[in-house]
Assembly symmetry: C2
Homo-oligomer: 139 residues x 2
């Protein structure tokens, strides 16, 4: 992918408040759900917050294969990142990503056992822009 | 699901310009892509336009299990419909959904062999609103 296109893909992730997490359930059936994007390190690593008790966390533990999708309805740009997800309880990260508004989801605060982080690591990408699709490696 | 909640889910689909189509590729890996919503009949049937030559069409022919996802970033409402997709070339439908602006994708017009319709039929739904998730049957 050209440097200019890569920059556009990174800008799309940067500008996105939310991302769509796609995976499969215990029967291999496709799942999709929007999450607030907690943090993105380029295209390689995306962090979101979830719940230990959630269906998604259980599914990811069983099958980490997943995708993160970002798009802009106005420019028709769409970026699918393919890779693996894992559930993480690192206390430093949980504190780093903590916001007071999260207390309604995790009443016990940053160390609430139900406060789980999902780290998605991309290996491949597909970027749709200017009416064409391009596959690329994410390094 | 209560009648009021069902109405909110239908309103979300109705108001959405786009939808996220989630499926799996030939290796069972999760895929996600935004499409313009061509037509929705309640929550039961969603139509989108695609290309015969596209990866998505090939994947759907091999494995119809899929999901359609709709969400509103401002209200935090999210609706996942689970069901099956099929590729359809019904000429009446292709004419019904035709717009002149589609000629850039299908130069031969409404009977272009690359102009394929994807019909998604939902059997189950999951609606997230007011911070809670609810599963339901789609009849």
């Amino acid at each position: 992918m050209t440097e200019e296109k890569m920059k556009r893909a990174e800008d799309l992730v940067e500008a996105s408040k939310t991302c769509i997490f796609a995976n499969t359930d215990e029967n291999g059936k496709p799942q999709a759900k929007a999450f607030l994007k907690t943090k993105a390190n380029g295209l390689k690593e995306i962090w979101i917050c979830t719940n230990t008790s959630s269906k998604r966390a259980a599914q990811v533990k069983k099958n980490p294969e997943s995708a993160m999708y970002f798009y802009n309805e106005d420019t028709f740009e769409g970026l699918m990142l393919s890779g693996q997800a894992e559930i993480i309880y690192d206390d430093e990260k949980r504190r780093e990503f903590w916001l007071d508004s999260m207390r309604m989801y995790y009443p016990l605060g940053p160390t609430d056992p139900d406060y789980a982080l999902l780290r998605f690591t991309a290996t491949r990408g597909n970027f749709y822009c200017n009416l064409t699709n391009e596959d690329f490696d994410v390094e």
